[in-house]
Symmetry: C2
Subunit: 159 residues, 2 copies
């Protein structure tokens, strides 16, 4: 039953007892599930029919994106603290094939109702990067990074 620790990518490789290295789902706590579901649908993302009245699952190139009531998420996760104000200290990134694709994606997100935090610009290290926030303030980076080649699933391939 420790086979998951021996997989080349989905599992850890250092120890058969290590914690498998996976980001299976990213769950975002939201204040208004229909509003947030509409936002990600407006981005053009495909919702799984496994979604319910309490949780929305969206397919991505990697793990699933889940939307779940913020207060329910506090309870479920066993945290005593409510969600704090301000930036949440987490960003999610969409890496794209070209600087132009970054510009277009940020425009599309804005059309879907996103708040643009930073218009795409070329970074000193050669990348082209912008940021937007979803209706709850969750921050998405949209980036072209010439040093991060993308695999067939659209995810970055690093050594």
């Amino acid at each position: 039953m420790i086979t998951e620790a021996r997989e080349p990518r989905g599992g850890a490789t250092l120890s058969p007892m290590a914690v498998p290295a996976r980001v299976s789902l990213v769950t975002l706590g939201v204040a208004d599930l229909p509003r947030s579901t509409a936002f990600y649908s407006a981005l053009g993302w495909t919702m799984s029919p496994a979604s319910t009245a309490e949780v929305s699952f969206f397919h991505t190139g990697g793990g699933l994106l889940a939307l779940f009531g913020e207060e329910d998420l506090v309870t479920e996760s066993g945290t005593l603290a409510a969600v704090g104000p301000g930036f949440r200290g987490v960003t999610l990134a969409i890496n794209l094939e070209s600087p132009g694709a970054v510009d277009r994606a940020v425009e599309e997100a804005e059309s879907a109702g996103a708040t643009v935090l930073k218009r795409p610009e070329t970074a000193p290290w050669g990348g082209h990067v912008g940021y937007f926030a979803d209706p709850d303030g969750h921050v998405w980076e949209v980036a072209h990074n010439p040093g991060f080649p993308l695999g067939p699933d659209g995810l970055p391939r690093l050594p």
Copy 2:
């Protein structure tokens, strides 16, 4: 240059101008990069040699996990607010093949220095779920969900 919007999984399918559905990276803002890098290494996760003194990249079964100074993340993302106190309203999940694998993974995480927020228990819907926090309070769910079959990359496959 809109080819990424036509990919079966890494891209959106509803519109050629939609935002590609990708979680390429999850970046966690951390207060002490060496401390957090040591923690994820202690989980048995493999760090990419593309990591630098400012950012650590870890391979996962999906997108990359990046660790980056919390204040730098505030500046980079163009957010004006500093990181708020309390729960951040985001959880990351590691889905595993069995209830026993969940129990073992949470024990391993605790050995690596994680704070266990909720010991694994069987949920009313049949899953087996626990939660731990990393050194900055970022919350990880560890779950066996019999309704979410896992693919060869260890990621859940939903309709």
